[in-house]
């Protein structure tokens, strides 16, 4: 839409609409002030000590874990669609003449003028950034971090490497690797629902933490072996003022690894497609 189109009657209508929306939202926020109902979040807080040490992780990946699975899908689809627009997997009907294809050209990156100092220090920084990303993902259940953040940090390391070293970057993610990363990530997240599904019919039931088998109306049961395999490795001793609790976050850390790979794959793929362009015949990066 051109800005000129907003002059005259259209612009006036748009402005009035904006004012009405603004007034509506503002007034309802004002009405909400002091009247917010806590609702279900109180229940979540009551249960906090029993699952992951970090309450946020258990909200995002346990109570609303399936939500996050589909959200992960949004990122995956975002990458697939962005790269599709640039040329990966455009389709045509057999035997029907169609229009010219839109093809993305590689970006013209000039790195000769980069100072030597930058080139010398960039690689250590890239490596340390990736390590930081991995620290964040391994602390998913105890810190505010997690898979999304790890993915974004590693993607920024990739971008830094490309910006400093150009197309022959040392952090050399190939397009097949990236697509495999994304697929592995979302696939891992999805498949981690399977153990719970097979034992209790609840998709993504956290078999490691096994919070709810004690409830009388709980259908199914979790075998001891699954509880050990998924629970033991992530068990921590929580020293709270109520006493010492041994709690495990179960499959949450594993889910976060899947999430991280998905985000690395997706975001790096978008960077990749913009930098190297997309052509189905050549490999592109670093050759």
């Amino acid at each position: 839409m051109d800005i000129k189109e907003l002059k005259g009657i259209r612009g006036i209508i748009a402005a009035i609409a904006l004012v009405i929306i603004f007034a509506g939202v503002l007034s309802s926020f004002m009405q909400l002030e002091g009247n917010v109902t806590r609702g279900i979040s109180e229940e979540y807080n009551k249960l906090a000590y029993r699952v992951a040490p970090n309450n946020l992780a258990s909200w995002v990946y346990d109570y609303r874990g399936f939500d996050t699975l589909i959200e992960t899908g949004v990122i995956y689809v975002g990458a697939v669609v962005s790269v599709l627009v640039l040329g990966r997997g455009l389709v045509g009907l057999k035997g029907v003449d169609d229009e010219e294809r839109v093809v993305a050209e590689p970006m013209d990156l000039k790195t000769e003028t980069m100072p030597v100092l930058l080139k010398y220090f960039a690689l250590p920084v890239v490596i340390l950034l990736v390590s930081y990303g991995l620290l964040v993902v391994t602390g998913a259940s105890t810190s505010g971090g997690g898979g999304f953040q790890c993915g974004v940090i590693v993607a920024s390391a990739y971008l830094l490497s490309v910006v400093i070293y150009g197309k022959r970057s040392p952090f050399n993610l190939k397009k097949k690797t990236l697509i495999a990363f994304g697929a592995f990530g979302w696939g891992l997240y999805t498949m981690l629902g399977l153990p719970g599904y097979l034992t209790t019919n609840y998709w993504q039931y956290n078999v490691g933490a096994d919070l709810w088998s004690w409830v009388p109306s709980f259908p199914g049961s979790v075998p001891e072996v699954l509880r050990t395999v998924f629970g033991e490795p992530f068990k921590l001793a929580l020293e709270l003022k109520e006493g010492v609790f041994y709690a495990t976050s179960g499959i949450i850390p594993l889910i976060n690894i899947g999430e991280a790979f998905n985000v690395i794959g997706a975001i790096c793929l978008i960077f990749f497609a913009f930098i190297y362009g997309w052509s189905d015949s050549e490999e592109g990066s670093g050759k």
């Binding site: 279900i40 697939v80 045509g92 839109v102």
Partner: protein
């Protein structure tokens, strides 16, 4: 109405199988045969699952509900606030998702045969479109509804952009831009609802509104209603943004449009029912919905009448018939809702019939413009028969299915004392016939120029023929014996009218 089971086996499979299929076919990328095998197999599995599945709930991640006295329960019949994300699979979901699975199966079978190369990602998007529509249909949670709508609009853009032309990419970009508004509208509505009720679960939110005194909070309710309706309009392509949606329908390949229109009809039904359940008792809420619906019908049909391209005509007809669906829902009465839901089922089927015919015209003919005479009838008589049958079904001629649902809609409108609405519905069905027949006359019937000179007949591919026959059979069966579909729909309509908190 008294399903107690909260760990229904089929619901996760309906979501997870499309995800895994999408991942696999995206990886396969250019191995056409393998993609075809995998995608047809999994679409068939989805169809079987949706047909044989019993009814019930799935509380994802197996978190219980909290009862009044603070104990936990896994029984859906005990009153409780849900800790988990809830999906419900009932009769309405069954018929909608079965029909969509059936369409997906054939769309995948046809497209994997007729596309050029590298169609892995495209088929992946097709499966994810299925996933988003199924999720929107089954979910009983505002937050998840938002995510499903979000991923759905991204997929629409992807499917359209995949056809590669400049016009398609422009349409996709425009649609993404505006559908971002739809997503954020839903998010604001969600935030406000969460603020006043404290529950993201739709049932719990409605219960909370019923239990707690919300007098003096009407402003919040109205604003969240307005934003939810905004997202309804955007996601379903109703009146003020109909040009975007019809642009999308036109630019995608017709087989992809089959999935796109199914998705948007399901979204309209699902969000429409949520609107009724949550805000149906608010004064003027239904009137607002009704006026948008009528506007959509009228504008859609008028635009369809002035188009000169078969694909454009179909695109605007789909929009206009979306209005038929929502008119029924926004009447808010039992008969109205049944009519709206039945119209959604019928609409998806006969529009698919017409769209597949349109794709065949793309192959055989010189294009879909109606300015030139095609004279296709002589060379593809069978296709002509199918397209005429589809037209009759779409314009509500007995004994096809469109007749039955439009009849119910007209009755519902008259019952409510709205003869004007009934008249508009009648006008839409008559104009549908005119719009379609204009196209059919010039593409198929009018004696053509060079196309007619060839002597050999065009042969319909086997899969396509099977699909067309099946679709015609369904329209006829539903037209003669509508009770077959109505049995699935009445229960949901009753629940929405009398016990809106029950999903």
């Amino acid at each position: 109405m008294n399903e107690t089971i909260t760990n229904l086996w089929s619901i996760p499979l309906l979501i997870v199988i499309p995800i895994l299929t999408a991942i696999v076919v995206n990886l396969l990328y250019n191995r056409g045969r393998a993609i075809r095998a995998v995608s047809i197999a999994s679409a068939a599995v989805l169809l079987v699952i949706s047909l044989v599945s019993p009814y019930g709930f799935q509380w994802f991640t197996g978190q219980p509900g909290v009862t009044y006295d603070g104990t936990y329960t896994f029984n859906a019949n005990v009153f409780s606030w849900k800790l988990s994300l809830e999906y419900y699979y009932g009769p309405l979901q069954q018929i909608m998702i079965s029909v969509m699975s059936f369409l997906l199966l054939f769309v995948v079978a046809i497209s994997t045969k007729s596309l050029k190369k590298n169609f892995g990602p495209y088929i992946a998007l097709m499966f994810l479109t299925y996933l988003s529509a199924a999720a929107i249909m089954m979910v009983n949670d505002f937050y998840h509804l938002w995510i499903a709508v979000e991923i759905g609009s991204l997929l629409v853009a992807g499917l359209v952009a995949a056809s590669g032309g400049g016009a398609a990419q422009k349409a996709a970009l425009k649609y993404t831009f505006f559908s971002a508004l739809s997503g954020s509208g839903l998010a604001i509505a969600l935030a406000l609802i969460l603020g006043i009720t404290g529950y993201a679960n739709i049932t719990d939110a409605i219960n909370s509104v019923r239990i707690n005194d919300l007098s003096g909070m009407y402003n919040v309710l109205y604003v969240s209603f307005a934003f939810l309706m905004l997202s309804w309009i955007y996601a379903g392509g109703l009146a003020p943004i109909h040009p975007l949606k019809s642009d999308v329908y036109r630019s995608a390949y017709p087989h992809a449009t089959v999935m796109l229109q199914t998705q948007s009809k399901l979204t309209l039904v699902a969000i429409g029912l949520v609107l009724l359940r949550m805000f149906g008792t608010l004064p003027f809420a239904r009137e607002a919905m009704l006026s948008i619906s009528i506007l959509t019908m009228v504008i859609g049909i008028v635009m369809a009448l002035i188009q000169t391209d078969f694909r454009w005509i179909l695109a605007y007809l789909i929009v206009s018939h979306s209005g038929l669906v929502t008119v029924g829902i926004s009447l808010g009465t039992f008969r109205g809702i049944v009519g709206g839901l039945f119209q959604a089922v019928n609409d998806v089927i006969y529009m698919s019939l017409l769209l597949v015919c349109c794709e065949m015209v793309l192959y055989f003919g010189r294009g879909t413009s109606i300015k030139f005479s095609g004279g296709l009838a002589k060379r593809a008589p069978l296709l002509t028969v199918f397209v005429i049958l589809g037209t009759l079904a779409a314009s509500g001629v007995p004994p096809f299915n469109g007749f039955q649902s439009e009849l119910i809609l007209i009755q519902a409108a008259l019952e409510q004392g709205l003869p004007e609405v009934a008249a508009v519905i009648l006008m839409v069905s008559v104009s549908t016939f005119i719009a379609l027949f204009r196209a059919i006359y010039s593409i198929f019937l009018r004696p053509g120029d060079e196309l007619q000179q060839g002597s050999e007949r065009f042969k319909l591919p086997g899969t396509t023929l099977m699909f067309l026959v099946a679709l015609v059979a369904i329209t006829l069966v539903l037209g003669i014996y509508p009770q077959l579909a109505l049995n699935f729909l009445t229960e949901s309509a009753l629940k929405v009218v009398f016990v809106p908190w029950v999903p």
